[in-house]
Amino acid sequence: MKNKKIVVILSVVIFLLVLVIVGFLCFNYIKKNEKPKVTLNIKTPNIAMNSVADSSINNSFDFLQKVANAFSSSYKEAEVTVNVVQHEQTKIDDEITESFGTSDAVDVLYREYFNMSKYIHTGKVVPLDDIISEDIRNDISTNYWENSTLNGKTYMIPYLGYQNTLCYNKKLFKEAGLDKYISSEDIIQNWTLDEWEEILSTLQKRLPENTYPMMMYAKDYMGDTHIMTLLRSHGSSFFDENGRIKLTTKEGIDAIKWLMDYNQKGYFPTNSENLEINDCSKLFHNGQLAIFMNNIALNPGVLEDGLEVGNVNFPSITGNGFNTTFITGFEVFDNGDENKIKVAKDFIKFIYQTDEFLDLSAGQIPSSKKVYEKYKDKLSSVTKYIQNSENGWNFTGNNPNWRDVREVFYPNIKDLLYGQMSAEDIAKKIEETCNEKIDKGYLNSKLHE
C-alpha cells in the first residue's frame, strides 16, 4: 500500500516535471521564432522646420512622425512601435534625464548638437560608425563630421543645420537713414566695428519711442550663443587650447567693455537683463527692434509679419563676422536593450537611405550634399548660408558639460548689463563659473565604446 502511494506520487511529480520541461521548450521555441516587440522612443524639442520637399512639415515633430509611420509599417525584423515625443526646449533635458531607466527612456534624440552633445559624456550614447556607410560619409561635409566625432568615434549624425546670423529691419534702417547699409542682395553682410557703431548710434537717435536698435537679453540661457558670439567681437577666441573659456585676455575684456558701452548708450532695450530672447523676437516682429537674429527656419515667420530683413554676421574686429552654426542631428541611446539599439540604428539608417526622408532636410541647410544639389533651385536662400559657412565657429568647444555652462553663463551677462561690476571682474567670473562646469564635465565624462 505504502509502495503504491510512493509510485503514484513519483509518477505525478515526473509527469509535472515533463510537462514543465516540454512547456518551457515550446515556449522558448515560440519565443525564438517570434519577432521581438520593440518600442522606440524618439524625442525632440520644438524645432521649427520648413521643408521644400513637403510643405506639411512645420517642425521636427512633423518630420519625425512621418518617418516613424513609414518605418514601423515597413520594418521586418521586429514589431516596432515608434513613439515620437516632443518636449519644450526648456524642459526636454529634465524629461530626458528623468526618463532614463524607465519605459519612456529616449532611444533616439533629434536635437541641436550643442544641446545634446553632453549626453555623449554620460556613456549612454552609442557610436554610429557601423551604420555610416561610405556613401553617407561622402555625402556630408567634413566639417559636420568633425562636429559629430569625439575620440575618433562618431556619436552624432548630422541631418541639417541652421546658421544663425543677425538680421536687420530694412524699414527701420531706411527710416533711420541707414540706406547705405541696406543690401539689395540676398547675402549675409559683414560690418566692421566702426560700421556697427555708426549704425547703432544712428538707430538709437532716430528710432521712435519704444523702438530699440539691437537685441540683448539675459533673463535665461536661451540665445546665449549669440551673446558668446558678441564676446568674440574683439578678437577673443573665447576658448583656449584646452577647451576652457578664456576671456580675461585683452580681447575678451575689450569685448565685455564694448557690450557694456553699448548698453550704456542705449543700443539695447532698457533693462535688457530682464528680457528673454523671445521678448526681443516679439519686439522685432512688432517692428520695435531694428536688429535681431535670424535663420532660415525663422525667416518665413519674419516674412509673414511683413518684415523686410537683411542678414548680417555677428560683429568681428576683422570685419569678417561670425555666425553660429547649429547642427541638428541624431543620437542613439543605450538603454540596456540590444534589440532597441539595433532598431534605433536601423531607424537612422532608414532616414539616410530613403530619399523621401532625407529630402525633408531641404528647407534648412541640409547636411546631405545630394539633397542640396537636388533642391538647390528651391533653396536659393540656403546658398548664402553655405557660402557663409566658413564664418561659423564651434561655440561649445566640444566640452562635455555645455548645459551646466549655459546655466551659469547668463547670470554673468546680467551682471554685465547691470553695470555694477568691472569688465575684468565679469571676465574673471565668467571664466571661473563656466570653467568649473567644464572641468566637472571632463571629470565625469565617460564614453560608450
Binding site: E88, T270, N278, K282, N286, Q288, L298
Partner: protein
C-alpha cells in the same frame, strides 16, 4: 451450553461491529467531504459578496479621497492665483500711483517690477485693446480685451501663444485683474495681465496621488486643458478633454453632451469610463470664481489593487482560518474515530481475551474432561472386558458367570450413561435437544426413580426419605425421560457424595396451580453428604467440572451431569438452585412447571437381565432379517440378540452387498432389513434409496430399519427421508425393537 452460546453471540457481535464500523467510517468520510464542499461553496459565495461590497466601499472611499484631493488642489490653485492676482494688482497700483508721464518710463518700470512675478511678462491693457508689455512690445489685441472684459474683476484664462513659432511655448496662462483706471499719454489703462507658462499650476497639483497613478488636470469650459493631465505629457498630446473622451465608453448613461451640460451647470459629479481597454473613475468639480473644472481620474485598477491587497491579506487570513478549522475538525474527527476504534479495539481485545480465557478454560476443562473421560470410559470398559473375560474363564460356573454378566451389565449401563451424557451435551449445544411432553403421572415417575436408586441406597445403607404427599395434581404433561434424567442425576449425586449411613431427603411439593392449567412443582433433594465448597458452587453447573475427579474421589462421573441438569431445567422453563457446605451436605431445589393432565407412566431404561427373557411373540419366530453392519463385533452382538428372539439373521457388511443380495433374493425371502448407516463402500441411506428403486416392488418395499449409534432427531429424519421405515438406536433396545416390529410387520 450457556457459555458457548454466549461466546458465539459475542463473536457474532464482534463481527457485526467491524463491518458496521467500516460502513460507518465510509459514511462519515463521505459526509465530511460533502460538508467541506458545502463549506467551501458557502465561503466562496460569502467571499464574493464580501469582495464586491469591499471593492465598492474602497471605490466609494477612494472617490471620496479623490474629491478631497481635488478640493485640496483647487485650494492650492486658488492660493497660487490669489498670489499672482495680488502681485499684479500691486504692480498695477504702484504704476498708477507713480503717475508716469510717458509710456517709455512706465514700461521701463513695468519691466523691472514684472520680474518679481516670475512669470514671462506682465502687460497693461488699455480700454481700447492696446497691450503694453513689460518686454516693451506694444501691440493691439482687441480679442484679448473682449475675452477679459466679461470675466469680472479677476480672471485667469488659457491662451494660445501667438508667438509660438518663435517662442517655444505653445500655450500661456493669463492671470489678470481689473485696475482702477489711469492714463498715461492718453492711454487709459484698465487691466493688468501677467503671462505665465501654462505649467505654472502644474506644481500645485498633487499629481503623485494614488501612487502616481492619479491624474489631475484643470480644463476650461471648452474642454481645453489649463493644466497638463500628466507632467510627462508631451506637447502634442495636449488635446481637448472632450476629444479625449470621444473614444471612451462612458458608463451610467453618460454621453459627451451630458458631460458638457453638467459642466455648464457647474455640477460636481463622478463618471466611470473605459478607454483603450482600461477602466477609469473620474471626478469633476467646478472651480468657483473662475470658469474652470478640476478633473481627476484614476485607473480603476488602482482601487482594485488597493482593495485586492487588503483582500489578499483578508483572503489569506480566512483561508488560513478555514484550513486550520478543517484540519482541526478532521483531526478531532479522526481522533474521535481513532479513539472509538481504539475503544472498540480494546473492547474486541478484551472480548477476545475473554473468549481466549474461556477457550483456554474450556480447553483445560475439556482436557481434564478427556483425561477423566478417558479414565471414566476405561473404567467400565475394563470392567466389561474383565468380567466377560472372567465369565469366559468360568463358563461352567453358572453362578459366577451370572455375577460377572450382571457386573458387565452394570458397567455397560454406566458406559452407556456416560455416552448418553456426552451425546446429550452435544445435542444441547447444537440446539437439537427437544422436550417431548407426554402424559405422565408424577408420582409414578417418583416411584420409578425411587426404585432405580434403591439398590444404590441399600448398598450404602443410606436413609432415603421420599415425600410426595403434597401433590394434589399428579397427572401432568412432561418429558419423563428428561425429568428422570434431572432427578436421577441429582439423586445419584447425592447418593454418590453421601457417605455410608447418611441421609437423603427427596421431597416433592406442588406449590401452586396457575389459571391456565400449569402446576408449579418443587423438587428438593437434600443430603448429608460431603458438600461442596463455595468456590465450586460457582462453577457447579459449568460443564466438565468436578470438584474432585473420579481418581481422587473414587467417585465416577462425567462432569457433565450438572450442566445437563441445568440445561434441561432451563429448557423446561424452570430453575435450579443449590445450597451446600463442605461436610455438611447439599440441597438441590428444582422448580418446574408442568401442564396438568392425567398421564400414563412409561419407562425408558435398559431392561436388566431379568427382562431379557421376556417371552418372544410367536409371530417373530422364523422371520428373516438381513443385518447390514460393517462392524464385526456389533454384527455378532446384534445377530445373537436377534437369534435369541427367534429371528433368522443373515449378515452383509455394507450397503452395496445389501443391495446385491436383496436384488438377487426372492420376494418375501427377507422380512426386514436392519441397516447400519455409517458403512464403507455404500452407506445405509444410499443403499435404502437404491433398494426402494428396485423393479420388484415387493423387494423394494421391504421394511428397512436404520440402526445407528446416534439417536438425534435429524438422524431419524434422514432415515425416513432415505426411505427407511424407522430408526433404532444402538445398542438395540429389544422392547423398542419389538414395538417397531409390531408396527411394521403387522402392516
Amino acid at each position: 451450553m450457556p457459555n458457548n452460546t454466549v461466546k458465539k453471540k459475542k463473536d457474532r457481535k464482534i463481527y457485526k461491529t467491524k463491518a458496521q464500523q467500516k460502513r460507518l467510517q465510509i459514511i462519515r468520510n463521505i459526509l465530511l467531504v460533502f460538508l467541506i464542499i458545502i463549506l467551501l461553496i458557502i465561503a466562496g459565495i460569502a467571499f464574493w459578496l464580501f469582495y464586491s461590497y469591499f471593492t465598492d466601499r474602497v471605490i466609494y472611499s477612494s472617490i471620496h479621497n479623490m474629491e478631497e484631493i481635488s478640493e485640496h488642489d483647487k485650494k492650492s490653485i486658488y492660493a497660487s492665483l490669489e498670489y499672482r492676482w495680488m502681485a499684479g494688482e500691486s504692480i498695477g497700483t504702484e504704476i498708477r500711483q507713480s503717475k508716469y508721464k510717458d509710456i517709455k518710463t512706465m514700461l521701463t518700470n513695468l519691466n523691472i517690477k514684472g520680474q518679481s512675478l516670475e512669470g514671462i511678462d506682465i502687460a497693461l491693457v488699455t480700454e481700447d485693446g492696446k497691450v503694453y508689455n513689460s518686454n516693451y512690445s506694444v501691440s493691439e489685441d482687441k480679442q484679448l480685451l473682449e475675452s477679459i472684459s466679461n470675466l469680472g474683476d479677476r480672471f485667469v484664462l488659457r491662451k494660445d501663444n501667438p508667438d509660438y513659432k518663435t517662442d517655444y511655448r505653445k500655450e500661456l496662462l493669463l492671470v489678470g485683474s481689473k485696475l482702477q483706471p489711469f492714463t498715461i499719454e492718453g492711454n487709459k489703462f484698465t487691466y493688468i495681465v501677467s503671462y505665465y507658462d501654462i505649467d505654472l499650476l502644474q506644481d500645485e497639483l498633487k499629481i503623485d496621488s494614488f501612487d502616481g497613478q492619479g491624474y489631475s488636470s484643470v480644463i476650461d469650459s471648452d474642454g481645453n486643458f489649463i493644466v497638463y493631465i500628466n507632467k510627462n505629457n508631451n506637447l502634442f498630446k495636449r488635446d481637448n478633454f472632450y476629444d479625449r473622451l470621444n473614444n471612451a465608453k462612458l458608463k451610467d448613461g453618460f454621453t459627451i453632451q451630458k458631460l458638457k451640460d453638467k459642466i455648464a451647470s457647474k455640477e460636481s459629479f463622478n463618471i466611470e469610463y473605459s478607454l483603450n481597454g482600461k477602466e477609469y473613475i473620474m471626478t469633476l468639480t467646478p472651480m468657483q470664481e473662475i470658469d474652470w473644472y478640476f478633473v481627476m481620474y484614476v485607473p480603476k485598477v488602482v482601487f482594485e489593487q488597493r482593495s485586492s491587497s487588503l483582500l489578499r491579506i483578508f483572503t489569506i487570513l480566512i483561508a488560513f482560518i478555514l484550513i486550520v478549522t478543517v484540519l482541526v475538525i478532521y483531526l478531532l474527527f479522526r481522533n474521535r474515530s481513532q479513539k472509538k476504534l481504539m475503544e472498540i479495539d480494546i473492547m474486541h481485545r478484551d472480548q477476545l481475551q475473554g473468549a481466549l480465557d474461556l477457550a483456554k478454560q474450556a480447553n483445560n476443562s475439556k482436557t481434564n474432561f478427556l483425561n477423566n473421560m478417558s479414565h471414566d470410559i476405561r473404567t467400565p470398559m475394563n470392567a466389561i472386558i474383565g468380567f466377560t473375560t472372567l465369565a469366559s474363564k468360568h463358563i461352567d460356573d453358572k453362578e459366577k458367570v451370572k455375577d460377572y454378566l450382571e457386573k458387565t451389565m452394570q458397567s455397560s449401563n454406566h458406559l452407556l450413561s456416560l455416552i448418553n451424557d456426552v451425546l446429550d451435551m452435544s445435542r444441547i449445544e447444537s440446539g437439537k435437544m427437544n422436550i417431548d411432553e407426554k402424559e405422565n403421572n408424577i408420582k409414578d415417575i417418583i416411584k420409578q426413580i425411587e426404585n432405580i436408586v434403591q439398590a444404590d441406597i441399600d448398598a450404602k445403607q443410606l436413609e432415603l426419605e421420599v415425600d410426595s404427599t403434597n401433590i394434589p395434581h399428579e397427572n401432568i404433561y412432561c418429558d419423563k425421560l428428561r425429568i428422570n434424567q434431572i432427578l436421577l442425576n441429582l439423586l445419584s449425586n447425592s447418593i454418590k457424595f453421601t457417605p455410608n449411613k447418611g441421609k437423603i431427603l427427596f421431597k416433592i411439593v406442588e406449590k401452586s396451580v396457575s389459571k391456565n392449567g400449569y402446576g408449579l412443582y418443587e423438587f428438593r433433594i437434600k443430603d448429608t453428604g460431603i458438600g461442596m465448597s463455595s468456590d465450586y458452587l460457582k462453577e457447579l453447573f459449568e460443564p466438565f467440572t468436578r470438584e474432585r475427579n473420579s481418581t481422587v474421589s473414587g467417585i465416577q462421573g462425567t462432569g457433565l451431569g450438572m450442566s445437563i441438569t441445568k440445561n434441561l431445567v432451563d429448557m423446561m422453563g424452570g430453575n435450579i438452585s443449590v445450597k451446600s457446605k463442605v461436610n455438611q451436605g447439599t440441597e438441590f431445589i428444582v422448580n418446574l412447571k408442568f401442564k396438568l393432565q392425567e398421564i400414563h407412566k412409561e419407562e425408558n431404561t435398559i431392561n436388566n437381565l431379568e427382562n431379557i427373557n421376556d417371552k418372544i411373540e410367536d409371530k417373530f419366530v422364523g422371520k428373516r432379517i438381513l443385518l447390514v453392519e460393517d462392524n464385526a463385533m456389533n454384527r455378532e452382538i446384534a445377530t445373537e440378540y436377534l437369534q435369541d428372539f427367534g429371528f433368522l439373521v443373515e449378515n452383509v457388511k455394507n450397503g452395496k452387498e445389501a443391495c446385491d443380495i436383496l436384488q438377487n433374493s426372492k420376494p418375501g425371502y427377507y422380512d426386514l432389513v436392519l441397516m447400519d448407516i455409517q458403512m464403507p463402500i455404500m452407506n445405509g441411506y444410499e443403499a435404502t434409496k437404491i433398494i426402494r428403486k428396485f423393479e420388484n416392488k415387493d423387494i423394494a418395499n421391504i421394511p428397512i430399519l436404520a440402526m445407528t449409534a446416534n439417536a438425534f432427531e435429524e438422524d431419524k429424519r434422514s432415515a425416513i427421508e432415505a426411505g427407511m421405515n424407522g430408526h433404532l438406536a444402538k445398542p438395540i433396545d429389544i422392547v423398542e425393537f419389538k414395538n417397531i416390529l409390531k408396527k411394521i410387520l403387522n402392516k
